[in-house]
C-alpha cells in the first residue's frame, strides 16, 4: 500500500482533538445536557424497540445517572425536570430494574439541592416498583421508610413495613420497626434506625454516601438539641440566656465542639434559646 496519499492524515488527525480542545475551552468543559426528552412515554419507547427493551432500559438508566450527576454537580438551577420521566421510562422498559426504583426514589426524594425535592414522586416510583416486584422486600422496606422519612405518613409507613415483613426472606426487625412507628409516632431514633439500615444494605456509592450523610445530620441534630438543653441549664443557673454558645464552655456546661459534623458552627437564637444547624452547613435540610 502506498503511504503518500495518507500523509495528510498525519496533519488532520491531531487537528481533530486540538480543535475540540479549543471548542471546549470556549464553551466550557461541561456542556449542560440538552433539557429535552423526545419520548416521554416508556410505552412508546417499548414499542419502538421490540426485543431490545432491556437494552433501551439500560441506556435510559445510564442517562438517568448521568443527568442526575450532571445536574447536581454543574447546573446552577438544579431543577431535575427530566429525572422522573427518565426513571419512569427506564422502569417501564425493564420493570425488574430494582436499582432504578431504589436509587431513583432517593434522587427524587432528597430535598434540593441534594436531590429533586419531589418525595411524592419518589414514593410513587417505589409503589410502582412494589407492584412490579412484589417479592422484593427491600423495595417495600424503602417505601415504608420513605413514607415516614419524607412524607411523614407514619401510620401508612408502619402498614407497609408490616407488609414487607410478610415477604419470604424479609428481615426480622421490620415488624418491630413497624410497631415502634405506631407506638412512638415516629421519633428521631426511628429515623436513625432506618437510615442505618439503608447505610448497611447499600454498597459503596451514592446511596451509601447519602445514608451516611443523613446519619451525620441526625448526629448534628442530636448535638444541637443537647446544646439547647445546656442553654436551658445555663439560664436556670444564671437567670439569663448565654449571649453566645462559647459562654457554655466558659461556664463548664459544654466540653465538646460547637460545630456540626461538617465543622460549620451551630446557629443560636438567643431569643428562644434554641441551637440549630446553620443554613450555611451542608448538614442543613429544610424541616
Amino acid at each position: 500500500m502506498r503511504l503518500r496519499p495518507l500523509l495528510p492524515l498525519a496533519l488532520l488527525l491531531p487537528a481533530v482533538p486540538w480543535t475540540q480542545a479549543r471548542i471546549d475551552r470556549e464553551i466550557g468543559t461541561f456542556r449542560a445536557q440538552e433539557e429535552v426528552l423526545y419520548l416521554w412515554s416508556g410505552e412508546q419507547v417499548k414499542r419502538l424497540s421490540p426485543g431490545f427493551e432491556s437494552l433501551a432500559a439500560d441506556l435510559y438508566w445510564l442517562r438517568t445517572v448521568q443527568y442526575f450527576g450532571g445536574e447536581r454537580l454543574y447546573s446552577r438551577e438544579k431543577r431535575f425536570e427530566l429525572l422522573q420521566p427518565l426513571v419512569d421510562i427506564a422502569t417501564t422498559l425493564d420493570p425488574r430494574l430494582e436499582i432504578a426504583y431504589r436509587y431513583g426514589a432517593i434522587f427524587l426524594s432528597e430535598p434540593l439541592p441534594v436531590g429533586a425535592g419531589r418525595p411524592r414522586e419518589g414514593v410513587e416510583l417505589l409503589e410502582k416498583g412494589v407492584r412490579s416486584l412484589p417479592h422484593a422486600w427491600r423495595l417495600r422496606q424503602d417505601l415504608g421508610f420513605f413514607l415516614h422519612l419524607f412524607l411523614g405518613e407514619t401510620e401508612r409507613a408502619a402498614a407497609v413495613l408490616n407488609e414487607a415483613a410478610e415477604v419470604p426472606g424479609a428481615a426480622f426487625w421490620l415488624r418491630m420497626m413497624a410497631a415502634d412507628l405506631v407506638t412512638k409516632g415516629g421519633s428521631r431514633a426511628d429515623a436513625r434506625r432506618m437510615w442505618q439500615q439503608m447505610y448497611e444494605q447499600a454498597e459503596e456509592g451514592i446511596m451509601k454516601a447519602n445514608a451516611h450523610a443523613r446519619l451525620e445530620i441526625l448526629d448534628s441534630l442530636d448535638a444541637a438539641d443537647n446544646l439547647t438543653g445546656r442553654v436551658a441549664e445555663f439560664e436556670k443557673r444564671r437567670g439569663r440566656r448565654p449571649a453566645r454558645l462559647e459562654d457554655l464552655r466558659e461556664a463548664g456546661l459544654w466540653g465538646g465542639p460547637l460545630a456540626d459534623v461538617a465543622g460549620t458552627p451551630f446557629g443560636y437564637d438567643q431569643q428562644t434559646g434554641r441551637v440549630f444547624i446553620s443554613r450555611e452547613s451542608r448538614m442543613w435540610r429544610p424541616d
Binding site: 414499542r47 421490540p50 426485543g51 431490545f52 427493551e53 432491556s54 437494552l55 439500560d58 438508566w61 445510564l62 445517572v65 448521568q66 425493564d94 425488574r96 430494574l97 436499582i99 436509587y103 454498597e203 456509592g205 451514592i206
Partner: protein
C-alpha cells in the same frame, strides 16, 4: 451430500473472505469499552448491562449479517455473473441452495460462538462469573438467525434485486418482532375480522419466541421444554421457508 457440504464449505470461505467477520472486531471493541466504562456509569449494574449489550449486539449484528448474506444468494451471484458457471456444473439446484444455506448457517454459528466467548471474557474481566445460563439465550438467538437467513434466501430467489430482497426480509423480521402487537390488533382496529388477525399472526414468524435475553440477564433459567418447543418452532418454520425457497429457485429461469 458431499457436493452439498462442498458448497457449504465454499460459502463459509467466501463469507470469511468478504470480511463479514469484521463485525467481531467491532463487537470486541464494544465489549471492552462496556467493561471498562459501565462499572462507573451504571451504579453496580455493569454485569447486567454487559449481558444486555452483548446479547443484543449478537442478535442485532447477527440479523444484519444474516440478511445481507442471505439476500446475496441469487441476486448477487447474478450481478457478479458467478451463478451461471455454478449451474453449469454437475450440481443440482437443491444442492446449491441447501449448501449455501448450510454454509451461511455455519458462518453465523462461528460468528455467534466468537461473540459469546467475547461476552464471557468481558464478564470475567470485570470479576463476574461466566454464567452458563447465558447460553440459554444465545441458542434461541442462533435459531432466530438461521430463520432470518432462510427468509432472506427465499426473497433472494423471488427478487432479482438484492436491495429489494433485503427490504422484504427486514420487513418480515421487523413485523415478526411486533407479533404481540398483531395479536392485540383487535383492540386498536376493531373493524379487522378476527380470522384475518389470527391468519397474519400465524403466518408471520414470531421472532419474540427466540428472545430470552431479559430472563437470562436476571439469572432466570429457561425451562428445557420451552427451549425444545422453540427449537421445534424454528425447525418447522425454517423447513417450510426452505421448501418454498427451493421450489422458487428450481422454477426460476436465469438468462
Amino acid at each position: 451430500m458431499s457436493r452439498l457440504l462442498a458448497v457449504a464449505a465454499n460459502t463459509f470461505r467466501e463469507t470469511v473472505r468478504e470480511r463479514v467477520l469484521y463485525n467481531l472486531v467491532f463487537f470486541a471493541i464494544l465489549m471492552t469499552l462496556s467493561g471498562l466504562l459501565l462499572g462507573q456509569l451504571s451504579i453496580r449494574q455493569d454485569a447486567k448491562i454487559i449481558k444486555d449489550v452483548g446479547l443484543a449486539a449478537m442478535e442485532f449484528f447477527g440479523t444484519l449479517i444474516a440478511v445481507f448474506l442471505g439476500v446475496g444468494l441469487v441476486s448477487k451471484e447474478i450481478e457478479r455473473r458467478s451463478l451461471y458457471p455454478l449451474l453449469a456444473k454437475p450440481l443440482s439446484r437443491d444442492e446449491l441452495f441447501l449448501g449455501k444455506f448450510a454454509g451461511l448457517a455455519f458462518t453465523l454459528l462461528v460468528n455467534l460462538a466468537v461473540m459469546t466467548a467475547g461476552l464471557y471474557l468481558t464478564l470475567v474481566f470485570i470479576g463476574r462469573p461466566a454464567d452458563p445460563l447465558l447460553l440459554a439465550a444465545v441458542y434461541p438467538i442462533y435459531l432466530g438467525l438461521v430463520l432470518v437467513v432462510a427468509i432472506a434466501m427465499l426473497f433472494s430467489t423471488i427478487s432479482s434485486s438484492s436491495a429489494l430482497a433485503a427490504v422484504f426480509t427486514v420487513g418480515v423480521v421487523v413485523a415478526g418482532r411486533f407479533s404481540d402487537v398483531i395479536r392485540n390488533m383487535r383492540e386498536v382496529a376493531p373493524g379487522v375480522p378476527p380470522w384475518a388477525i389470527d391468519f397474519i399472526y400465524a403466518l408471520l414468524p414470531n421472532f419474540r419466541n427466540f428472545d430470552f435475553k431479559d430472563r437470562v440477564a436476571y439469572g432466570d433459567a429457561v425451562p428445557p421444554d420451552v427451549l425444545l418447543w422453540v427449537t421445534a418452532y424454528g425447525a418447522v418454520y425454517v423447513a417450510a421457508v426452505l421448501v418454498i425457497g427451493l421450489a422458487s429457485f428450481r422454477s426460476r429461469e436465469f438468462q
